[in-house]
Amino acid sequence: MIFFKPISYVIKKCNKLKVKMYSQNEKSLIWLTMFNELSLLKMKKLINLFPSPALLYENFQTSKSKIIDIVGEATFSKMLSMRDNVLFSYITNLNNKKIICLTVESENYPEKLIHLEEKPLVLFCKGDISLLKTKSIAIVGTRLPSSYGRIVTESFAKSLAQSGLTIISGLAAGVDKISHEQAMANGGKTIAVLGGGFDNIYPAMNKNLADEIIEKALLITEYRPSVSPTQYSFPFRNRIIAALSDGVLITEAGEKSGALHTKNYALEYGKEIFAIPGNINNVKGRGTNRIIKSMQGTCVTSPEDILLKLNINIEKIPVQSVTQVQTTMAEKLILSALEDGEKSLEKLHEITKLETKILNSCLTILQIHGLIRKLPGNMYSL
């Protein structure tokens, strides 16, 4: 026979163990995140009614008329019905999911955000929250990078992560994804800021990446888990990316890329902006090139440019041991053919005059040695 303990006992125990983690002030703020009807602006208005959030919670019923002025009657009664027990189970639920809530009243709330006009009242975090205090750089850009964008994002994310910077991005496809992946693959740290709740990872194909980030790094959002992202929430979360980081690097962005929102926020907050120049003929490079042309950001061509600007000791970067790889005659031919830019297999065949079978096997060997890389469309580049 399994013996069930009475409910009251369980609640008491939970109270002691987990829910007590949050102060009354924090709990009140968490309570406010439960309602879709409350925008950030309304939440702020509510809090400003009283000296502290805890007082709002306590005096909720007594100052009915003032609150109804702000949120309306329906929301008021909804909020009223969702106190005490409902809030308690909400918080228990968050705890069970191992979600840590950092509120503006919390000790650990990131300092970089606290002075923000539009600071999120509650940050839902999954993972290692100590990363919020580290020196960091945001890497953002297009969701569908060209092969050039892919390569520069990879190499910048890799060396910046290796030099100890935390890489912040938005867990979107393309540049965001590459940045997170590179950071973790090279033993670096990374923070992903979501545009929706934890239960609604977008795009869904990044679910696995999100799980990896939770395990090794940090995933944060200002939305409670069940909120789905909207087309407005993505640009809005970019302010957190911009504010959390010490500099913003845009690797490749088209004319209307969402990354430019991040740049605008970064300008507003007075952060360093870095842009990698793109091909002037490629539409994918127009956004970054415009940043450089209008002098809103610094043109960077190597990760060291960024590190210097951020006052990070370059010596810290582990020197990559370049092992001299022995290459055969055929391989040398291929390497020299690729010197002036990426080429298709067909073109390589034409230039090197190698037999297809030899060409193919040499390409694999060069790929393995990391001397060349394969790109979609049967293209190869150095």
């Binding site: 969701r143 496809a173 795009p203 539409v283 079978k357 193919n360 694999t364 790109l375 049967n378 293209m379």
Partner: protein
């Protein structure tokens, strides 16, 4: 009076003996046909009556009972018209009954007494020969099908009257002359030749390997890059069919009624190109009569699926089992049949919905989610059965303009034949004779790697982030590449080349 004639029915690709018994007794006129006959057989009564009268014979106005034995097997199709008509005439003593029992008789009658061609003559002849029959009467139009089987006498007839006169000894008929398969083979020509395809070195090489090892191929490339032309030319580099193989394919085509009556046998390997709206039964076989589908028609040949992700998922998944086993069992309420389906799959697809992802000629207009979804329309288990993925890029103007002749299909085929021969030796005691169908045990035995190769594979998996399922595919393809060079061991260069043909396993896409 009682008379019997022999005929054959079809079940799957095999024939079974049917004895047509006719009894005529005195009484009011009636015509009863028993023995699990389908509609086409039951309707034969009207045709038989009209054609007997129009051939100036007498239709007996008595009590006629026809039985198709064995009574427990379903008989279908119009090929029973002629044997029934002849047995009726024999039962009425218009034909000498003792001469007809040696013959197997097939054919459909028209009202005028002419004999029309029927489907499935070749499989019936083969089954009947196995059953000990040596003399046949078949429709004149089907005579070519009979010309490749030696040791039997086949008499083609044009009309019912001709058949009756022949059986009564009033008229001599010439039997079909035997034709050698080799002679027919010499006269065949391929519509497409590798000689006329410019550029595309990588794709051509991949197809050569595929032909040599019987591997399935997936070609990925933008629209207009020549994927379809490459696939159609693929037949010209496959090893020639042996007579046994040709007979097997011809049987299936004969049943499906797709056989060219002018030649009567398939000389070239069949190339089937079902459209992407094709339903699952049309591909695997089905219908109430469990007919062979496209994959069986492609037996010993090529099944070309153009724009593979556009096919219904259900349809594609149905290919998994035949790709593994080489046969398909079509089960329907009325009956079930086993058809061979040992084909090489050539598939093509675009890299993304708009077709231009990665192309240096056009900009791609797809979002990353769209591309991800598109590439994942093909399931892992299905991709597991495709050994070679090769990217095909468009051809430039210079390449088209170039007038130099490329290597012809014939010289590629010579290499393919050599590689096949080695495999034939290697898998002498096995059911399958090509590298692609190798089981894991054989793989261990024939694809042993030395240290250098082991290290290469290990590095490749780490550095190129290949997925684990690629491992065995790479080994099999490397084995074929080694065979093409007539090398007994797999060398590092072979492995390295094989890795290039795993485009979709490398994660540089999205």
């Amino acid at each position: 009076m009682l008379a019997k004639t022999n005929c054959f029915g079809l079940k799957g690709i095999d024939g079974f003996r049917v004895i047509v018994e006719t009894n005529i007794s005195n009484g009011l006129f009636s015509f009863d046909l028993v023995g699990l006959a389908d509609v086409a057989v039951k309707e034969s009564v009207q045709r038989i009556r009209a054609s007997i009268k129009n051939s100036l014979f007498e239709f007996p106005l008595k009590r006629i009972t026809v039985n198709l034995a064995p009574a427990n097997k379903r008989k279908e199709g119009p090929l029973f018209d002629l044997p029934i008509a002849i047995s009726v005439l024999a039962a009425d003593n218009q034909i000498l009954a003792n001469t007809i029992s040696d013959f197997v008789i097939l054919g459909e009658l028209s009202l005028s007494g002419e004999i029309r061609s029927v489907d499935g003559v070749l499989p019936i002849l083969i089954s009947a020969q196995k059953n000990g029959f040596k003399k046949f009467i078949i429709p004149f139009e089907n005579r070519k099908e009979a010309s490749y089987i030696s040791g039997i006498k086949v008499y083609p007839v044009k009309t019912l009257k001709q058949a009756v006169d022949f059986l009564n000894g009033k008229q001599e008929l010439e039997f079909v002359e035997n034709v050698s398969f080799e002679n027919i083979k010499k006269s065949r020509k391929y519509d497409f030749d590798f000689k006329s395809i410019r550029g595309q070195a990588a794709a051509k090489r991949a197809l050569e390997i595929a032909a040599a090892g019987g591997h399935n191929v997936l070609m990925i490339g933008p629209p207009g890059s020549g994927k379809t032309l490459l696939a159609k030319s693929f037949a010209s580099i496959l090893p020639e069919m042996t007579f046994e193989e040709a007979l097997e394919v011809t049987k299936i085509h004969s049943i499906a009624g797709k056989l060219d009556s002018q030649i009567g046998i398939l000389v070239e390997r069949p190339v089937r190109t079902p459209h992407h709206t094709a339903t699952m039964p049309s591909l695997t076989g089905g219908g109430t009569k469990a007919r062979p589908g496209e994959i069986s028609l492609a037996h010993n040949g090529i099944l070309f699926l153009d724009e593979m992700p556009e096919y219904e998922r259900r349809t594609l998944e149905a290919l998994r089992q035949p790709l593994e086993d080489g046969i398909i069992t079509v089960s329907r309420a009325a009956q079930s049949a086993v058809y061979p389906a040992n084909f090489t799959l050539i598939a093509s697809m675009n890299p993304c919905p708009c077709g231009y992802f990665g192309s240096n000629r056009h900009n791609c207009s797809c979002t990353s989610t769209m591309i991800h979804k598109y590439l994942h329309k093909l399931s892992g288990p299905l991709m597991d059965r495709i050994d070679l993925h090769v990217e095909v890029d468009g051809v430039t103007y210079e390449e088209i303009k170039n007038n130099e002749d490329e290597e012809s299909s014939e010289s590629i085929r010579a290499r393919v034949n050599k590689a096949r021969k080695l495999q034939y030796e290697r898998f002498k005691n096995q059911k399958n004779h090509c590298n692609s169908k190798m089981n894991n045990e054989m793989l261990k035995k024939t694809c042993a790697l030395d240290n250098e190769c082991e290290n290469l594979v290990k590095d490749a998996f780490e550095k190129l982030s290949l997925s684990a399922r690629a491992y065995y595919r790479i080994l099999k393809v490397a084995r074929t590449i080694a065979d093409l060079e007539e090398s007994a061991e797999i060398k590092a260069a072979h492995i390295a080349e094989a890795i290039q043909y795993r485009a979709l396993d490398q994660k540089y896409w999205i």
